[in-house]
Symmetry: T
Amino acid sequence: MAVYKKIELVGTSSSSLEDAINKAISKASETLHNLDWFEVKEIRGGLSGDKVKEYQVVLQVGFRLD
Amino acid sequence: MAVYKKIELVGTSSSSLEDAINKAISKASETLHNLDWFEVKEIRGGLSGDKVKEYQVVLQVGFRLD
Amino acid sequence: MAVYKKIELVGTSSSSLEDAINKAISKASETLHNLDWFEVKEIRGGLSGDKVKEYQVVLQVGFRLD
Amino acid sequence: MAVYKKIELVGTSSSSLEDAINKAISKASETLHNLDWFEVKEIRGGLSGDKVKEYQVVLQVGFRLD
Amino acid sequence: MAVYKKIELVGTSSSSLEDAINKAISKASETLHNLDWFEVKEIRGGLSGDKVKEYQVVLQVGFRLD
Amino acid sequence: MAVYKKIELVGTSSSSLEDAINKAISKASETLHNLDWFEVKEIRGGLSGDKVKEYQVVLQVGFRLD
Amino acid sequence: MAVYKKIELVGTSSSSLEDAINKAISKASETLHNLDWFEVKEIRGGLSGDKVKEYQVVLQVGFRLD
Amino acid sequence: MAVYKKIELVGTSSSSLEDAINKAISKASETLHNLDWFEVKEIRGGLSGDKVKEYQVVLQVGFRLD
Amino acid sequence: MAVYKKIELVGTSSSSLEDAINKAISKASETLHNLDWFEVKEIRGGLSGDKVKEYQVVLQVGFRLD
Amino acid sequence: MAVYKKIELVGTSSSSLEDAINKAISKASETLHNLDWFEVKEIRGGLSGDKVKEYQVVLQVGFRLD
Amino acid sequence: MAVYKKIELVGTSSSSLEDAINKAISKASETLHNLDWFEVKEIRGGLSGDKVKEYQVVLQVGFRLD
Amino acid sequence: MAVYKKIELVGTSSSSLEDAINKAISKASETLHNLDWFEVKEIRGGLSGDKVKEYQVVLQVGFRLD
């Protein structure tokens, strides 16, 4: 039966949490295939003055090993 | 004084975290009334190729028992 | 070297999680400067009928002490 | 062998933590039998001016399924 | 899109952890359909003298709401 | 919409958990208004001989910022 | 400098949480001295019909080693 | 009413998780009586080449104090 | 002195938790050597009708870096 | 009886964990008195090339309110 | 196969975290043998004025039972 | 915007916690660049007789993906 691996990434975005998630998934798909699911572990962000400079979403991405 | 019950649901959406939350609340309101608050317990999602197929938000919904 | 302080706020918004985060940061910046980062600790919300009345994001805001 | 179910309730009381627990158990017993144990998950409360308006005890109640 | 519900059960068995899980799933399937996944939350057990009397596996069972 | 702040206090009492909570709330109300809710984070205590010298309840108090 | 040991006990009482704590401390003091502090780890209880049969408070007790 | 003590053990076995639990309970029963329940806190293991050398189950054992 | 790396895998099996662990270890050993220990992080599973389709054990595997 | 407040600080140091703790305590003592205890919540750090640029210790500081 | 026991100690030191750990291990070795490993559970400390009076390291010590 | 990856390492040292952290960072820098931050997840150690044989610091190292 299948074995999966989980790696931990941090996606960043200046616009939204979903965009930060997508940035991380998109990056992962450059070198990995069989991406299957993700789990958000932490939501943080950087501030600049009185504004959110970037949202940072720490997530684990699970993929099936061949 | 009031007693409340909390149930655990998973809302899904292909567009946003807020939409996944709303989907779950909307479903809950079909059979329950006096819905009062929700608490997000986990954020996950399914992937398809290099895209997020769906956001999955695990949440508890609290409502007052009659 | 620098010492930072973290305070805990709850931002609320009827429209989105990001808006709730921004509301809290904006409020914090009225009385504090050197705001540096934030960490989301909890996501909750109030319900009204079958609708989300407000998203509530509990977050810690870190800033450098002079 | 037996299978048990756990449900999550929030009992409230203006007088004590024990009373909030009892309120929740009493409510549960109106519709369930074979109540067996409870586990306190969270203790919170509402404030009014400089007073505790109500203690809120979040608890899980376990009962045997027939 | 689909909405799922999670309920919490405790399966018991005198023989193995897997059997305790199966007992809980089997009981759940008597009244629910569309059972989809489970998550083990806690493993405990009762003792009698120097022997394990029963394994108790606390698990959440997720199923799709119609 | 409203923004809330949470501070962390430790109330102490030689008589009961509720009294320790009330002591902390009462102290907070000397300098803060709009107190709205509290969340118990930890329950500890000091011992003297074979007696509880004091109950210590660590709690967060939430209040609305003007 | 001092070294302390922490042991884990469960005090039970049919009347209150404080009484359950005191029962555990009192038992510990029969065989240990230099009891210094306690930390509540879990609050549970047994039910009988629609009543709390006993409160069970799991606590760690710290004491100085000679 | 009764007071219980919980101790923490690690049972090991080359064959199964249940066997590791039983090894720990069996050892505990050599010096303690009134063993009542156990709670699994952690599951780990040692590896040798591409094989599991031993399963290690960290568990707390509760017993009634006389 | 040695430095170790931990990776996170999910082993699956239709028969037992131990088999799911072994499947993950076996897969890891295809590309890594010096495998030293594992830590179970989560136990889940997929359901099909009223049966467990597969046990899923999330585990971290530690190995020494050369 | 006394009421205490806990604030959260991050001390930084290029030399050691203890120095980072002391930096935070020292800063706190500039504006607060009756400092009583601290609790480390998190240990992190910044890297520069292959070196630790600074240790960051997140800690809560407790002090008695007058 | 071997069974291990874990006890929980608090080592204290006015100089360093490592010294607090060593103080606890040294004390444990006065009455126990086969000490095998330790796990740090918590780092705290006492303050005096603007100085750290003592570091307190809560740790579990594991040892093999004969 | 940037995407980061986090890997989990265990640094060991017979002398200090900081040295164990540095050993892990140094090893990571042999094969990775753009190392940015680390987060300590766990502190453990091996014992030999009444002495600490080695400190083991489990940490996550974050680095920017090109």
